[in-house]
Every structure is written in C-alpha cells, then in structure tokens.
C-alpha cells in the first residue's frame, strides 16, 4: 500500500494539470482577494476632497478625513477631473468644501457639497455618516454641550478581523472541496475508462487498500493546499489567523475526507470521465456560492438559508472560521460537527454500496 501511496503522489506531481487546478486555482483566489481586501486595509473606497476654504473648521474636516481608516482621500484634483473619475468608477464620491466655509462672517456658506454615485451605497453611507458625525461633534464643541446619550460597543472578540480573513477561511474550504470532489470523481472515472481499476482487480490487492492509498495521497495534497493558502494569506496580505493551526488542519482534513466521499459517490454513478466532470461541477459550483465561501450566508433569504446551512461545505466553513478566526471551540455549536459527520456517513454508505473497482 505504501508503494501505491508513493506512486499516487508521484502521479499527482507529474499530472501537472490536476496539480494546477488543485493549487493554482485557490491561490489565484487568495491573491486576488488579498489585493482587494488584504494588507490590513479597512477602507471602503477612495474619495476626492476639494477644499476651497482655509478656515479652522475646513482644515479640521480635511485632517479628520485624511486620518480616517475608512476612506482614502485624494486631493489636488479639480471638480471636472473628479467628476470624470467618478464616472469611471475610479473614486467613490467627491467632497467639495466651498470658499469661506466655516468663516465667522454672516455670508459664509453653511453647507458642503457631496457628489456621489448612487450605485456605490457603501461609500455614500460612510461619507455622509462621517461628515455628519464631524459636524455634530463640532456643534457640541462650539455650544459647549456634552452629548446626553452614547453607545458602548462591545465586540465579541477583541481581534482585528476584516473581510479578507473571512474569505481566506472560505478559500480553504473551496480548495478542499474542488480538489477532493473533482479530483476523486474524475480520476476514478478516468481509471475506470482506461480499465486501470479492472486491471487492479486482477491482482490480489484488497480494494480497500487501493482506496486508502488514494485517500491518503489526496489528504497530503490537502495539507499542501491549506499550508500554501495560509502562508500566502498571512505573509502576503497580512491575514489575521488566531486559532490553533493544528486544530484548523485536523478539521480541514475532516472536510477533505467528506469531499472525497462525495467524489467516490459521483464516480460510482458517472459512466464516463466527462459525466464525472459535469456532475462534480454541478455539485461544487452551487455549493461555492451557497455555502458561504465569499459572503456570510445569513444574508440569504430565510427559506434559502434553512436549506443551504445544511450543505456539506457550510458547517465545515463555520467550524473552520470558529477555529481560525475566533480561536473558538469547534464543538461550541454541536450541530456543525453533527451535519459533517452525517454527510460523511451518508456519502460513505452510498460509496461503499455503489462504488466498485470491477465492472460488476
């Protein structure tokens, strides 16, 4: 069996195309998301500030905007150019402070102008919120008033986390799912078409040893995938990972096992390699979007959420995120591990029942 395991590893490395999909595809995603959302950048977008006033108030606003983390500020652009940039979606909004704004003269303008793109609601709400907040505070200062009410924010954990960290854990799940479901389903269907499975059954090798060698070599690939994603995320884009890496790996590999079971199940039903490819894509693509790789699924309509939260990838991602991002206990919500084990049992039983190395 060891020989078969080593041979499988060799073939994986030599079969460059499969390796490319298993490693490059999730890494590509990691890098793309890293450039957009990584490197600790918490800003939601860029705004152009055209400040035509030299007053204390105007300079105060200028300074507050420039120091803010949520918005990146560009200056020295005239209004016409800024409008062009806005049209081209290169900036999120324009903030124009009129001449003499904030000057202690009766004719001084009282409003500043914000030009926004209605499509970019995230930037718009941040810009208006930010400026309103600034003016309210200024009003309080001028009138020497203390606010009567305020909020105490309590975070569920005191760690800095951003969207990239969320996606990074999702990408681990995605990589495991794609390489295991497609890898097993397509490889097995291909082996069947090429009569390699049949050739194996002419030897005294026990079928379970053949399957075990295949499963173990795939898990090795999974370790490599997880390692690379975490390394690139952490060192390349300053991802925040708080949990125990060993625990993260163990739970990821449980996921890997689950997806391999799904792969064997597909291989049991697919008559050809093409069919296996089609069926595994039909399983993985919807799951990629519905199980919360890229966005939290609680944003989905309630009826859909009640269904998709039971998809195999969904509880796995919840556990991986609990471990990786919150350093939490993966069993804190036992439903998650129950769903995963449930899926493993179901797919394993179907695979054992239907998947055969021989033709009959």
């Amino acid at each position: 069996m060891l020989k078969l395991f080593l041979a499988n590893l060799k073939m994986m490395v030599r079969g460059r195309q499969a390796l490319f999909w298993a490693l490059m595809f999730p890494l590509m995603f990691t890098i793309i998301f890293g450039f957009f959302f990584g490197s600790g950048s918490g800003s939601v977008g860029t705004v152009v500030l055209i400040n035509n006033s030299n007053t204390e108030l105007a300079q105060g606003l200028d300074k507050a905007l420039s120091e803010s983390d949520v918005l990146k500020v560009r200056k020295g652009v005239n209004e016409q150019d800024a409008r062009d940039l806005l049209k081209k979606n290169q900036i999120g909004a324009i903030i124009e402070v009129p001449e003499n704004f904030g000057a202690p003269i009766p004719s001084a303008p009282k409003n500043i102008k914000v030009i926004e793109d209605p499509a970019n609601s995230q930037v718009n709400s941040v810009v208006s919120g930010f400026i309103n907040q600034f003016f309210i505070q200024t009003d309080y200062q001028i009138n020497h008033i203390q606010p009567s009410f305020s909020i105490d924010v309590e975070k569920t954990n005191n760690r800095t986390l951003n969207y990239f960290d969320f996606v990074l854990m999702g990408l681990i799940g995605l990589a495991l799912m794609n390489s295991s479901v497609q890898g097993i389903a397509i490889t097995m269907a291909n082996y069947r078409e090429d009569k390699i499975l049949k050739r194996i059954t002419t030897t005294p090798l026990a079928p379970w040893k053949f399957v075990a060698a295949e499963v173990l070599s795939r898990l090795m690939l999974n370790v490599l995938q997880i390692g690379l994603i975490l390394l690139i995320g952490y060192y390349g884009f300053n991802a925040h990972i708080y949990g125990n890496l060993g625990l993260l790996l163990i739970f990821s590999l449980i996921g890997g096992l689950l997806f391999q079971c799904i792969g064997f199940m597909i291989a049991a039903f697919a008559k050809t390699t093409d069919a296996a490819q089609g069926m595994s894509v039909a399983v993985t693509i919807p799951m990629m979007f519905l199980a919360g790789v890229f966005f939290p699924i609680d944003q989905l309509p309630k009826w859909l959420l009640t269904i998709v939260q039971y998809l195999p990838l969904a509880p796995l991602l919840r556990m991986v995120r609990t471990i990786g991002l919150e350093a939490g206990n993966p069993f804190s919500n036992p439903l998650n591990i129950e769903i995963v084990i449930g899926w493993i049992v179901v797919t394993l039983v179907i695979s054992i029942w239907k998947f055969r190395l021989s033709d009959e």
Binding site: A7, M11, K195, T202, P204
Partner: protein, 317 residues
C-alpha cells in the same frame, strides 16, 4: 497431464441475454489453449469469469485446484492477466508500473528481466502513452508476468497490431510457453490460433461449437483439401466440368470476390483433389495453389452452420 483449469456448465446471463450458455472445458498444464469466436461470442466474458472479474450465473470453475468462489485470492496470486486494450497509469514509467504491480503479489519476477525479454529495456523510464501500439501491447503482456504466474490469460493480445508487431507478439507467447507456463488466449485471428494454440475451442453465441487439438479440427473438417486458381478469363464450362468431376455435393467451388476469374475449391478426398488438379492444369491457369484447409475454413464451416441453424429455429418459432 495435470489439469490447471476446469470449467463446467458455465452460464452468464445479463437480464434476458445469455452471454455464456453452459460451456465446459479443461485446460492442461503447459498448453496454449485458444478461445476463438467472433466479437460478442462470449470469449472475454468466459475469460473474465475464470479470472474472477465477473460472477458466473451458474456453473463451476476451478483454477489450479482451487474453487474460484472460495479461494479467489490464492488464485489471483498465481495467475497473470492481460486485459483487452487495458491502459496503464499515464504518469508512471514502465519500470515504476512494474515495481508498483510487483508490490501487489507475494512472488515477483525481476522487472529488468521482463523488459529485456520484450526488448523494452531502453524504454524503462518512458511513459506508456509515449510508446507505439506494439510496444504497449508487449509491455501489457510482461506486466501480466510480474508475479511469475503459472497461468497467463491473454485477451486478444494482437488485436490492432501491424503484421510485424503481431509476429513479435507470437514470439513472446512462445517464449512464455517455453518457461512452462500455461497460456489461455482469445483471438479472432484464425491464422494466429493455428500457429500458437495446442488446442482451441470455437465459441459461437455463448456456446462451444467445436473443441479439439488445432490440427485435428482441421483434419476433421468436411473439406480438408483446398485449391485456389486464377484463369486468364472466366470459362463457365470449366467450372461445370470441375463440379461434375468431384460429384457436386462432395465439393464446394466458389468464385472469390475481387479479380475476374479467381476461384476457390474445397474438396473431400485426395482422389477428388488429383482429378481437379489434372483438369485445371490442362487449362493453363495463371495461378494454381494446392493446400490444406485452414482453421479459418473450419471456423466458417462451423459458425456458418450455427447461424443457419439458428435462423431455421427462428423461422420454425
């Protein structure tokens, strides 16, 4: 002689279709036994049941004295199987594949020696799909020898090969026989069976319609003599004269497709043969070949009969 394979009343059904219909035969140690038949006659199904790859619907199989149902593992340790058009791993070299497969058995042959036997030692580090069809087939045969088996199963070992590659494969098969191994092969090339097999069984629609030593099958055919000739131009009077000379029902004369006056005549007795040749020589034919019937003639006679019988049965029903 020691019996190494014993098959009795073997049946394989797929729903309503009967692929193998109650066949029985024995194979003796050290012989080359051929299963002949058209595509779909049931050769491969029979072979795969003996190899333990398919479960018989009924009947018994014993290999090397072991019952196939209770001792399949022991049997697999001691047989070598070459599947019809089987591919091997794409990303392993020949040597790696042999090493891998040797790990599946308790007993192994030396991969280097095996590669040398089929002149592939220089290709030891190549991938299978980078080789020609003949080379792949040769490799596939030696891969079935990796456990130094007592019985070797070869399923259509020369199908799709060019004449030269086919002859090279024949040499390998006789080399395996020389090592004292028993070989059971399927083929639809009669010439190949005639040269390689000690005994053959001819299968037709799941049944064995004839089984004997190859040369005896040929000798026992209805028309063991054969004359082939080409005349300068077609002369119907010569043909009727020939037919008269050998008493119409006793000989079979027919025009071959292709050339204008190319005939084949099958005869029952030496006397008929002499008479026919005497007559023909007077006509000064462009070509005249006298010979023995071949296994192909036996095959056509037998399977043609089987088909005619079946058609008659269908009509009666």
């Amino acid at each position: 002689m020691e019996k190494v394979i014993d098959v009795s009343n073997l049946v394989k059904k797929y729903g309503n279709f009967t692929a193998v219909n109650g066949i029985s035969f024995e194979v003796e140690k050290g012989e080359v036994f051929g299963l002949l038949g058209e595509n779909g006659a049931g050769k491969t199904t029979t072979l795969e049941m003996i190899e333990g790859l398919r479960k018989p619907s009924s009947g018994e199989i014993s290999v090397l004295g072991f019952d196939i149902n209770s001792h399949l593992r022991e049997i697999k340790e001691r047989i070598g199987v070459q599947l019809q058009s089987s591919a091997y791993y794409h990303f392993l070299t020949l040597k790696e594949i042999l090493d891998l497969f040797s790990g599946f058995y308790k007993k192994h042959s030396d991969p280097k020696e095996l590669l040398k036997m089929v002149h592939l030692e220089s290709k030891a580090n190549n991938f299978v799909d980078k080789m020609s069809g003949g080379q792949q087939q040769r490799f596939s045969i030696i891969a079935s020898l990796i456990n130094d088996p007592e019985i070797v199963f070869l399923d259509e070992p020369t199908t799709g090969l060019d004449p030269l590659a086919r002859r090279q494969t024949w040499d390998i098969i006789s080399e395996i026989k020389k090592q004292g191994k028993t070989i059971i092969l399927t083929t639809h090339y009669m010439e190949e069976a005639e040269i390689l097999c000690d005994r053959v069984a001819i299968m037709e629609k799941g049944k064995i319609v004839a089984m004997d030593k190859t040369h005896q099958l040929i000798e026992h055919t209805k028309h063991p003599y054969r004359v082939e000739f080409i005349l300068e131009k077609d002369k119907p009077e010569i043909i009727s004269q020939l037919q008269k000379s050998c008493r119409l029902d006793e000989c079979d004369i027919k025009k071959l497709p292709g050339k204008e006056a190319h005939y084949e005549m099958k005869l029952k007795t030496q006397t008929d043969l002499n008479e026919a040749v005497g007559l023909l020589q007077k006509e000064n034919p462009e070509s005249l070949t006298v010979g023995r019937a071949t296994l192909e003639d036996v095959f056509i006679e037998l399977t043609g009969k089987a088909i005619a019988q079946e058609e008659a049965e269908e009509e009666n029903a």
